[in-house]
């Protein structure tokens, strides 16, 4: 266990170093001068002033030097200041991160809550009408892009039924009710694709598991179908699902970027989007590193979940 944690931490550090360097280089070779983000357009004609700003921000130093400086500060918890607002990047991140995390957590939790029973049931009823219905719906859910789902949900539940707000965000400090209301539609938009993927994955594993001999022997003991399905069939069918959920949380970051934009949610994704547009490369750099760390954490968590699901892995570790 200790060995595993040390190994994971080493991997995290290496990954962060590589990704942050690549991002740094990437942002720098992009066309467009970061100075443009720093000063108003009319001042950009003043060569001397521009040069002064460049010196001030250290933009004239070689890239490697600048990266080293950034890294040195980052290690001490200082991710620099936004080129656009001049505010410390860390402040803005701590303000926006919880929103994105909540959105993703609710989306994943919601999709598992629906997909696990649905996939298990669908696999159990393989080939029957109910299974075909579920599979058809899953196919439809898969082919819907996130923003289309979002727009449909906004139209139906916000504009027509007026159950939920169409855009905006209420923080948890504004009360649980308003907070849940504002997270519902964006999280559901993200969840539709996830539900479809998870249901299909679990269904096909379930079908394979139900053909196993131990399922037959469990049934021959006179156990009820539901008991056999959930106590004997589910656990061995979960491994692929766990892998896919782990991988998909990575993709969700991309999805939440679109959704935050669509629902005007002040999350990290939306900020990353504007930061890229404005060449606010301090912000881009910081958010990218954060996503990397998050990704590695999710991967480690996935491995821990394997152990929870499969007692055989637990025993050998």
């Amino acid at each position: 266990m200790q060995k595993m944690i040390v190994g994971r931490l080493t991997r995290l550090v290496v990954t962060v170093l590589v990704v942050s360097f690549v991002t740094f280089v990437g942002v720098n070779v992009l066309p467009g001068d970061p100075v443009n983000a720093l000063i108003p357009i009319d001042a950009q004609q003043d060569r001397e002033f521009v040069e002064q700003i460049r010196e001030e921000w250290g933009l004239n130093d070689p890239m490697v030097v600048r990266y080293g400086r950034w890294l040195g500060d980052a290690v001490q918890g200082d991710l620099g200041r936004s080129l656009v607002t001049g505010q410390p990047v860390t402040d803005e991140i701590t303000h926006r991160l919880p929103i994105t995390l909540e959105l993703m957590a609710v989306a994943v939790g919601f999709s598992l809550l629906i997909a696990v029973p649905l996939g298990a049931f669908s696999g159990y009823r393989e080939g029957r009408r109910s299974d075909r219905l579920v599979s058809g719906l899953a196919q439809a859910g898969l082919s819907l892009p996130v923003f289309v789902t979002g727009l449909i949900l906004i139209y139906v539940f916000a504009l027509r039924l007026q159950w939920f707000p169409a855009v905006g965000w209420n923080r948890l400090s504004d009360g649980l009710g308003p907070n849940l209301k504002s997270v519902a539609l964006p999280a559901l938009s993200l969840a539709v694709t996830e539900i479809a993927v998870y249901t299909r994955v679990l269904r096909s594993d379930m079908i394979a598991t139900l053909k196993e001999n131990y399922i037959l022997s469990a049934r021959a003991k006179g156990l009820t179908d539901r008991f056999v399905l959930f106590r004997h069939g589910l656990r061995p069918s979960l491994l692929t699902l766990v892998t896919v959920v782990g991988l998909n949380i990575g993709f969700l970051i991309g999805g939440s970027l679109v959704i935050e934009y669509l629902f005007a949610i002040p999350g990290l994704g939306k900020r990353l989007f504007s930061a890229i547009q404005q060449r606010d490369f301090m912000m881009v750099q910081a958010i990218t590193v954060l996503i990397t760390v998050f990704y590695v954490i999710v991967n480690t968590a996935t491995d821990l979940v394997y152990m929870v699901v499969d007692p055989r892995i637990r025993r050998t570790n």
Binding site: S217, A220, G222, L223, T224, R231, H232, R235, D310
Partner: protein, 385 residues
């Protein structure tokens, strides 16, 4: 002091017991409807079993023995299956019961042990729970009581250090131990009828014997009725009261087990006997295999299904399918026009030999080899391993 080791081959106690009928199967047919046609897996099997009796069902792979057991038990085999006939268990026809009614019998009244203990136990569930989970569901036993019962059962099937093994996972046990767990699980609700479907086929030879002895002992002690399905005549020798020999979905010979060995009637039974390796043979004696393959059940030959492989085959065998009739005693039945040991059979053999029929030549060769070994090793024949 409990007697821990009693001899296995004591005389059958079933006759001294009440001997009431527990299972009566009448003209059971099972067919699968496949894209390539109707596959007749079981074609009209009938037999009766008394309480405490044991029955061995013997046949090659594909002879329909497993399908027969599962049809009686009502365990779904596949889609597009049709079962007809009757199977009375304590007077109730199992084939007419609903799934819910069957489920209340499964595990509690009728239990089954499967072939491969590597796959018939859930790899992710502790063995203790697999032994008693149905007991808890059927009989509302509380957790602590159930654990004690599981411990007792594991001890009874001779799993050493049961206390520490109860929380193990199947992969942490050997094959023989796993099959002991399966047996413990089958016995948990004290069923009156036990199907053991090739219970030792997947095990090491050294373990097979122990598992069979364990099954026989439990069967006798509990006065349980047991159906032992196997491809190996050696497995049932001295263990079961009755024997059914199946070929291509039909019973070809049926008799008390000792009678089957002493007075073999059907050429297929004889061929199965010949394929049992014997210790009296010198090492490296080739096994006497049965020439040819079992027929494909979608395209059964006309007449007797064994005729294409039979060393005694005559023109009549290709035309008419012999029915199962009593031979000698009423207890001994066989389905053959030229039963082994009869004059007609000897004549048929000579005729086929002179016609140089391949399967007849193969048998003659095996007989010669056997004769040779007997004179050199000077061991009496007929001894089964």
């Amino acid at each position: 002091m409990a007697i821990s080791q009693e001899p296995v081959d004591t005389s059958t106690p079933s006759e001294s017991m009440e001997g009431s009928e527990i299972l009566r199967v009448e003209d059971l047919h099972t067919s699968f409807f496949l894209p390539i046609g109707e596959l007749q897996a079981v074609r009209g099997v009938s037999f009766t079993l008394k309480r405490g009796q044991s029955l061995g069902i013997v046949g090659e792979s594909g002879s329909g023995k497993t399908v027969l057991a599962r049809s009686i038990m009502g365990l779904t085999l596949a889609k597009h299956v049709e079962i007809s006939g009757k199977a009375f268990f304590n007077g109730r026809d199992l084939l007419t019961l609903s799934r819910r009614e069957m489920r209340s019998l499964w595990g509690t009244e009728i239990a089954m042990i499967f072939q491969d203990p590597m796959t018939s136990l859930n790899p992710m569930v502790k063995i203790g729970r697999q032994v008693i989970e149905h007991l808890r569901q059927h009989k509302n036993v509380d957790r602590r009581e159930a654990k004690q019962i599981a411990l007792d059962l594991l001890n009874e099937v001779r799993i050493p250090e049961a206390e520490s093994r109860i929380d193990r996972l199947p992969h942490e046990l050997s094959g023989g131990m796993r099959q002991r767990v399966s047996i413990a699980s089958a016995l948990a609700c004290e069923p009156s009828l036990l199907f053991a479907d090739e219970p030792t086929t997947a095990l090491d030879v050294t373990v097979q014997h122990q598992i069979l002895n364990l099954l026989s002992r439990e069967q006798r002690q509990r006065n349980m009725t047991m159906v032992l399905v196997t491809h190996d005549l050696g497995v049932i020798a001295g263990r079961t009261d009755e024997t059914l020999v199946m070929y291509a979905g039909k019973v070809v010979e049926q008799a008390p087990t000792a009678e089957i060995f002493d007075n073999t009637q059907h050429p297929y039974t004889e061929a199965l006997m010949r394929s049992i390796p014997r210790t009296s043979q010198p090492s490296h004696t080739p096994l006497a295999a049965i020439t040819g393959r079992p027929p494909v059940a979608t395209h059964l030959p006309k007449g007797c299904a064994f005729s294409p492989r039979c060393p005694y085959v005559q023109p009549r065998c290709h035309e008419e399918d012999p029915s199962l009739v009593s031979i000698g005693t009423s207890e001994h039945k066989a389905a053959c026009w030229y039963p082994v040991g009869s004059d007609a059979n000897r004549e048929a053999f000579e005729r086929n030999l002179s016609d140089r029929l391949p399967q007849t030549l193969a048998v003659a060769e095996a007989l010669d080899a056997d004769q040779g070994s007997e004179t050199s090793a000077d061991v009496p024949d007929g001894e089964l391993t």
